[in-house]
Subunit: 317 residues, 2 copies
């Protein structure tokens, strides 16, 4: 890894231009920061950042109107190849139809017609600060991430990598040639906090600044990014009827990304007993995320890995 | 006021016994602390605290199952005399019917048959710590409040008084002969936090402890309680179409009960302007409560008042 990082920092890599970026909000209808950021950008008629064209989409307007994460199915699990190509019938959930519409508008996923960069804005009830979430180790994404990490100081900034092939990548950002989700919390579902709104706005301003610099010929030095790579999910303990018997222990609550070691408390049963973690040292994230109760996920666990990325410049036509 | 307080501390007042207490949760289906406290008490078959009989009720099971505040109408606005006596038709909302059922079971409101003490458990997304909310200045409520204020140290404890006559009192606790809501936050809707769960459990344990002492003949000294008395609500600024144009300013966010003075920032518009408070010095509470967006309430404002209460003992039959 070190050899490759050093090597990549010396050699400059030329990468294709980013002509357009699409910023999406409201993929989950009760994660309000993205909804209101997108609406404000539409009101301000923001269409260009330098030579890069900027579009915005409110992706699940029905769920936004209902004030809920989704109406029939989680939209952000609908962008797999299987669901994007499934035939539409009367019983097809609204969100599957909407995913296919979005794929036609912003993709098709994996094609030359897809938008160059797709950014999807999310919130979490977990204390995760600002996270970039992405599938592939992609130079553009890692460079933008590094630029934000270096320039945004109001909250912790972290990278989360989901090691899933593109065909099975289930979330909206996988539709773009490059793409990532910006996940910011803690913010309750259905609530809009000014601090979170301002952080996301700052992250987007920095992203557009980076894109302007990149498209105007600025070259960016290589380096490394520490990313949390998803390992597994942990469910709540349950009784024989399948009902949860415990809640996240208060020592784990709000401690996303703090290394969890064998013996650390993770759950408190409703009757007051403490349950401890057993297993290899890993980093918890999405701790006590509201929307994951129904998915039977109390928290995710990750390994920390270092990825190197090269010095890059735009490849002119 | 001072004369009355001193006087009340010297004279002992004898008040009727509390034979029974009902603890309610799930009046708002996505405020989970009460739901799980009540379920755990039912599982433990807790039926007595000394000589005081204890019952528990999950008050809006349909809303709990749906994971929403309510299904058709806010249940905790249905306990006015008008709604409790309105004829049931096919178009009557579920929650009005449920309020009438609960009134038959736990009331009738204002009657000798009503439960002696009704405690309703709530959560808020606002940073309010633990609050007692009540209508009338009632010796039992003030004594229990004082006992909790003196013995619970993990979060700030405050009293909120709503100066509304009983006939118009709209919330469940008004059905009991004595009654108060315990409102604890911040906790996102649909999320269960261990710290909040433990605080509410501690407050209930202290309440039951007080009731045991009182019913066994212990007398309690008089004193004073500082309570925040509701003055008015403040809406978000809106455009000509009625849409909110701003969010709570980050200096006001999480600063419930911090005196608001003319000139203090209260809103940030989506385009970044700051709007300031104008008016008399008052105390904000329910700042950025999720459920109040639809009620057009950004925050409430209160005056702080001091109420005295007498030295009391139980009046034996």
């Amino acid at each position: 890894m070190v050899d490759r990082a050093e090597n990549s920092q010396m050699q400059r890599t030329f990468v294709p231009p980013i002509y357009n970026v699409t910023i999406c909000g409201g993929t989950h209808g009760n994660e309000l920061t993205g909804v209101y950021i997108v609406r404000e950008m539409q009101k301000q008629k923001m269409e260009k950042a330098g030579s890069v064209s900027v579009t915005t989409v409110e992706t699940n307007p029905r769920a936004v109107a209902a004030g809920r994460r989704y109406t029939e199915m989680d939209l952000n699990r609908c962008f797999t190849d299987v669901l994007l190509s499934s035939p539409i019938t009367e019983s097809t959930p609204y969100e599957v139809k909407r995913a296919q519409e979005l794929n036609a508008q912003l993709g098709p996923k994996g094609s030359a017609k897809a938008v160059d960069l797709l950014i999807d804005l999310h919130n979490t009830t977990s204390n995760m600060g600002l996270c970039f979430i992405f599938y592939s180790i992609d130079w553009i994404t890692l460079h933008i991430y590094k630029y934000i990490e270096n320039n945004l100081n109001s909250v912790p900034v972290r990278a989360i990598q989901l090691d899933i092939p593109s065909s099975e990548a289930y979330s909206l950002e996988s539709v773009g040639k490059h793409g990532f989700a910006i996940e910011v919390g803690p913010q309750p579902s259905g609530v809009l906090r000014a601090d979170i709104f301002n952080v996301v706005k700052e992250a987007l301003d920095l992203t557009l600044q980076w894109l302007q610099k990149f498209s105007s010929g600025h070259s960016f030095e290589g380096g490394t990014v520490d990313a949390y790579t998803f390992v597994k999910s942990v469910d709540y303990p349950r009784d024989s009827a399948g009902k949860a018997t415990a809640i996240i222990h208060q020592d784990l609550q709000d401690n996303d990304f703090k290394l969890l070691r064998s013996g650390d408390p993770i759950f408190q049963t409703f009757s007051g007993d403490i349950l401890k973690y057993e297993g290899e040292d890993l980093y918890p994230f999405f701790v006590n995320e509201c929307a994951y109760y129904e998915k039977k996920i109390a928290f995710h666990l990750a390994q920390k890995k270092t990825y190197s990325f090269p010095h890059i410049s735009v490849k002119n036509d």
